[in-house]
C-alpha cells in the first residue's frame, strides 16, 4: 500500500511520510499537527544525489557516519540517509522489497538515529506505564524484552514504547512506537494465533502486535525504575537468584547503562557521545537501576510477575555491597 502523504505523531514529534504508509506509527490528522513542534520528513530519494561522506572512525561496511549525517545500507533491501535530526530519506533496492521491509528498518534504525541526532537519550528496551508512572526494561537482542512487555500488558500495563525508548531531559519517557514484535513460539505460548498476525517481514516467523492488539499509553510519564532483564536458570542453587537486585554501585550502574544505550556506535559516529554521557549520568542520578531475573518459560514468568510490584520494587530492593559489584565489572 502506498500513500502520497501521511502524518504521524511519536516521541512528541510530528512526522510526515511521503510515498510510504507506516502502520506501526500512531496516525494523526493534519489539523492536530498545527502545534509548534517540528515536522520530520520521511521521503524516498535516489542515493545518487547524496553527497559523499568521508570515512569515519566508527564506520562499518554498512554504516557511514558524520555529525548530523548517517547512511545505512541494508543489503538487498534498502538504503537510508538520516540528516540533521530532521529528515529520513529512504531508497528501495529493488522492486521486490516491500513497504513493510522498508518500515521495519526505518523504524528500527533510522528513527533511532534521528532521535540521537536531536540529542535525545535513547535506550534499547521497552517502556510500560501504569498509574501514570513508567518502567523501562532493557536487555540485549534475544534477552526476552518483547515477551516481557507482552506479559506485562496482560497484567494491566500499557505500552509506551518498544525497541527505542526516548527519555526527555526532565526524566519523562516519551510515547514511542506502540508495537511489539513477538516470535512465533512466544505468540503461541500467549495463545495467540500466528497465522492471524502480520509478520514483521514476508516469510519471517516473527510477528507484529500493534493497533488494537496493544494497550498503549499516549502521554509522556515520569520514569520510576530501570530494569536489566536476564533469564534465570532453573537449576540455580542460589535463592537470591530469583530476587530483584538493585545495582547500587555507581560504577556498575554507569557501565551497565552505557551498554544498554541504543546503538552506541551511532552515538559515537554522530558525534553525540558527550551529550549522551551527560544524559546517562543525569538519568542514573535520578532513577534506580535493578536486575530483573526472569524465570524461564512464559507461564512461570507470568506467575512471578504477578507477585512483583515493579513500580515500587526497586525502591525496596537490596543490592550487594558496591565493592562486590565493582569486582563483577571485570567480566561485564
Amino acid at each position: 500500500m502506498t500513500v502520497s502523504q501521511a502524518h504521524y505523531r511519536a516521541f512528541e514529534l510530528n512526522w510526515r511520510s511521503q510515498g510510504l504508509a507506516i502502520p506501526e506509527l500512531p496516525g494523526c490528522s493534519l489539523a492536530a499537527l498545527a502545534g509548534a513542534d517540528p515536522l520530520i520528513a520521511i521521503e524516498p530519494e535516489e542515493p545518487d544525489s547524496w553527497p559523499q561522506l568521508e570515512p569515519g572512525p566508527h564506520d562499518t561496511p554498512f554504516l557511514r557516519m558524520a555529525r548530523g549525517d548517517l547512511r545505512l545500507t541494508v543489503d538487498d533491501i534498502g538504503r537510508f540517509r538520516i540528516k540533521d535530526g530532521e529528515r529520513i530519506a529512504w531508497h528501495r533496492q529493488h522492486s521486490g522489497v516491500s513497504d513493510q521491509d522498508i518500515c521495519t528498518f526505518l523504524l528500527g534504525s533510522a528513527v533511532g538515529a534521528l532521535l540521537i541526532q536531536r540529542g535525545i537519550l535513547v535506550l534499547h528496551g521497552n517502556a510500560l506505564e501504569k498509574d501514570g508512572q513508567a518502567i523501562v526494561c532493557m536487555g540485549h537482542s534475544g534477552a526476552g524484552k518483547s515477551t516481557l512487555a507482552y506479559a506485562l500488558m496482560q497484567q494491566g500495563w500499557r505500552l509506551l514504547a518498544d525497541d527505542l525508548v526516548a527519555i526527555s531531559p526532565d526524566g519523562l519517557v516519551l510515547p514511542g512506537i506502540p508495537r511489539i514484535k513477538l516470535w512465533h513460539d512466544a505468540a503461541k505460548a500467549f495463545d495467540l494465533d500466528p497465522v492471524q498476525l502480520p509478520p514483521i517481514r514476508q516469510g519471517m516467523h516473527k510477528y507484529l502486535l500493534m493497533g488494537e492488539a496493544v494497550q498503549r499509553a499516549t502521554e509522556a510519564v515520569p520514569l520510576q525504575a530501570l530494569y536489566l532483564i536476564h533469564q534465570r536458570r532453573h537449576d540455580s542453587p542460589d535463592p537470591e537468584a530469583s530476587r530483584i537486585t538493585r545495582i547500587t554501585s555507581q560504577k556498575a550502574a554507569a557501565l551497565r547503562l552505557r551498554n544498554q544505550a541504543f546503538r552506541p556506535r551511532f552515538v559515537r559516529g554522530l558525534g553525540q557521545e558527550g551529550l549522551n554521557f551527560m544524559a546517562l549520568a543525569r538519568l542514573q542520578s535520578r532513577v534506580p537501576l535493578a536486575s530483573l531475573p526472569l524465570p524461564a518459560g512464559i507461564a512461570a514468568m507470568q506467575d512471578w510477575l504477578e507477585q512483583q510490584d515493579l513500580l515500587q520494587a526497586v525502591a525496596t530492593a537490596e543490592g550487594p555491597a558496591p565493592a562486590e559489584q565493582d569486582a563483577e565489572l571485570v567480566s561485564a
Binding site: D75, D76, G142, D185, A186, G203, R233, D235, D326, A327
Partner: protein, 305 residues
C-alpha cells in the same frame, strides 16, 4: 572499517576443546601480565587464582547478535538466516569494544554456509588465523549427549547430519544467530581446506597427551609469550581436574546449559568407544573415514579395509 588490531578464530565443532583453549589463553595472558591494568588490579584484589566465570573473556562468539547488530546497524533478528549468512562475513572485526584482551573469537559455524554464496560466514579481513580444534566424533557424541541432555542415538545422527546447525529455529529469538555446521567431517574440512587465513590444527587427544607441547604451539600461533616455564604453569593451572574443581567451587560454569549437570564433566578421550554401540561407531567411521584418516585417527580394521 576493519581494525588494524590482530584477531584470531578458535574454530571447532562443539564439545571439542574450544573452552579449554579459551581458559588456557586467559590464564596465559594473566600469568604473562598482558591484560589491562583494571582487570589485573581487580583480579589481584580478589585472589591470585583463575576464576572461571569472571575471567574467561577472550572475545565474543562470532555468532553473537550483540556484535552483529552493532556492526550491521540494524536488529539482526529482522533478517532471516539466509540474508544474515550473506552479510556476516562482511562485518568488521569488533574494534576492542570493551577490552583489549578480546581478540580470540570462538566460532562453531562451518567456514561457509549454503546461504553464504561460497563466501565465508565470518569476517576474514585482517584476521591472523584460525585455531581449528578437532576431537574424535565418537567422544564428541558422548559429550554432546551430556551437554544437550540428548540420547546418544540423536548425537550420532546430529554428527552425521549434513544440514546440522546450532540455534536453527526461525521461530524464536536468542542471543546467537543460526550457525550452520553440516556434518562433523564437513565442518572440520571447511576450516582446514579454506585458503584465506592460516590454520593451526589441534587435536583434543593430543592436548591431553602432550599438553605443554601443543599449548605452546597454540601460544606461538597466537603471538603470545611461549616460554616453557610460563606454558608449564598455565597448563598446570588449567588442567581438567582443576577446572572441574573450580566449577564446583563457583557453583557452576555459566556456559553450562539448563539440565546439564556439569560443563567440565570428564575430559577424557575414548569414552565414545565405551558408550556408543558397535553399530554407531561403525556408522561414524564409515561416513567419516576419509576425514578420520586425514586427521590421524585409527579406524576399525573392517572400515579401514
Amino acid at each position: 572499517m576493519s581494525s588494524p588490531e590482530p584477531y584470531w578464530y578458535l574454530a571447532s565443532y562443539p564439545k571439542s576443546g574450544n573452552t579449554w583453549c579459551r581458559v588456557f589463553i586467559t590464564e596465559l595472558r594473566r600469568l604473562a601480565g598482558l591484560d589491562s591494568a583494571d582487570a589485573t588490579a581487580s583480579a589481584q584484589q580478589e585472589e591470585q587464582a583463575l576464576r572461571l566465570n569472571r575471567d574467561l573473556a577472550t572475545g565474543s562468539i562470532v555468532s553473537s547478535r550483540h556484535w552483529l547488530d552493532d556492526q550491521l546497524g540494524i536488529d539482526s533478528s529482522d533478517l532471516c538466516w539466509a540474508e544474515l549468512d550473506k552479510v556476516r562475513g562482511r562485518v568488521g572485526h569488533q574494534r576492542a569494544l570493551y577490552a583489549e584482551c578480546l581478540r580470540y573469537h570462538k566460532v562453531h559455524d562451518a567456514f561457509t554456509s549454503p546461504d553464504s554464496a561460497g563466501r565465508p560466514v565470518v569476517p576474514t579481513e585482517g584476521c591472523r588465523g584460525a585455531v581449528v580444534m578437532i576431537r574424535h566424533p565418537a567422544d564428541v557424541a558422548v559429550s554432546l549427549g551430556h551437554f544437550f541432555s540428548w540420547e546418544l542415538e540423536r548425537c550420532v545422527a546430529f554428527l552425521l547430519n549434513e544440514e546440522a546447525a546450532l540455534c536453527r529455529s526461525s521461530k524464536r529469538g536468542g542471543q546467537q544467530v543460526r550457525q550452520f555446521m553440516g556434518s562433523w567431517a564437513h565442518h572440520g574440512q571447511s576450516w582446514v581446506d579454506q585458503q584465506q587465513i592460516p590454520v593451526l590444527l589441534l587435536r583434543y587427544e593430543d592436548l591431553l597427551v602432550q599438553p605443554e607441547h601443543h599449548f605452546r604451539r597454540l601460544a606461538t600461533f597466537l603471538d603470545l609469550p611461549a616460554e616453557e616455564p610460563l606454558i608449564r604453569e598455565a597448563v598446570a593451572n588449567t588442567r581438567f581436574d582443576k577446572l572441574r574443581a573450580k566449577e564446583d567451587a563457583e557453583g557452576g560454569f555459566h556456559e553450562r546449559p539448563e539440565g546439564c549437570e556439569r560443563f567440565f564433566r570428564s575430559g577424557r578421550s575414548g569414552e565414545g568407544r565405551e558408550q556408543l554401540t558397535a553399530e554407531q561407531i561403525l556408522q561414524l567411521e564409515e561416513a567419516f573415514s576419509e576425514t578420520l584418516i586425514r586427521f590421524g585417527y585409527a579406524l576399525n580394521p573392517s572400515v579401514a579395509a
